[in-house]
Symmetry: C2
Subunit: 171 residues, 2 copies
């Protein structure tokens, strides 16, 4: 029996990434709990997620930029990441980009998709960092492959909005 | 500074899932190695990946089917999964669906996307199961949420083609 070739329904295909991301976060944290590690050692969960993000970011940006003309400067790279790269992953652009023109950039996302499942209530604020580590890594990996080594951190003040701070390392 | 709103390039957005999947597989296997477990215990890696797939499958199908009319029978569910569900995740349909009409289904994918990165050479054949566990879970989770409890296994004879066998459990 062959399946007929009616075109598929238009499904919410961004949810695959969201569900998978939730699973990874929960897997990494459960695994550390099962090792009986204490709170301090849970920092390794964040590192672990950040590193996975880093490698995914490197792989993706390589594919994404293979037909892209080269960038004229650092700011041009940042704009590409905020617009094209972000949209491809999160289905929306970074809402606001600021810079001090000395290598520090603040990328603000007013409705970050990986936080929306937990966006109600202040009690979840302390949970937020674990849902941001992977994305910090994604950014750092993408920038690294575009020639910018950086330190990326994230902060949340009112969910589901968040800010990613990128500090480019001058070598 | 605001980012202008030029529409993004059309990027290969299915690669996010592929890269993320590779990272998960490698994370799960590395973590077991670091625990010094032997080959037999590595079966837990497969279970771990299968269970992550199961939960993602459950979540996705719930979202995908919320506007779908109910299914008329088991075969109707299987066709939906082979066509709509599969396309949404892997950007292609299952190529061939067979059944014995007694609850066993064989879903053949002639070019399974999660195997294509390793498709050259027979030496990778033994690596294949670890790249199929998550997808077996996805299928089992989706079917479970549609009311069909099943056992799902996969086999590869010539990469990147593979077959998923679904045996529906009659309760």
């Amino acid at each position: 029996m062959y399946i007929n070739d009616v075109p598929p329904l238009d499904m919410a295909d961004d949810s695959l990434f969201e569900f998978l991301h939730m699973e990874i976060v929960s897997h990494v944290y459960k695994e550390h709990e099962s090792r009986g590690e204490n709170d301090k050692e849970r920092g390794t969960c964040v590192s672990s997620l950040e590193l996975m993000g880093f490698r995914v970011g490197q792989g993706l940006i390589e594919r994404f930029t293979k037909d892209t003309p080269s960038f004229k400067d650092e700011l041009d790279v940042m704009k590409f990441v905020c617009k094209d790269f972000w949209t491809n992953i999160y289905r929306k652009q970074i809402d606001n980009l600021r810079t001090n023109h000395q290598g520090t950039y603040v990328l603000q996302d007013n409705r970050f998709p990986l936080l929306t499942p937990l966006s109600n209530g202040k009690q979840y604020l302390e949970e937020a960092p674990k849902y941001l580590a992977f994305s910090c890594g994604l950014l750092r990996g993408a920038l690294s492959n575009l020639g910018l080594e950086s330190v990326v951190t994230a902060e949340v003040s009112l969910m589901p909005a968040c800010k990613f701070q990128v500090v480019v390392q001058k070598i």
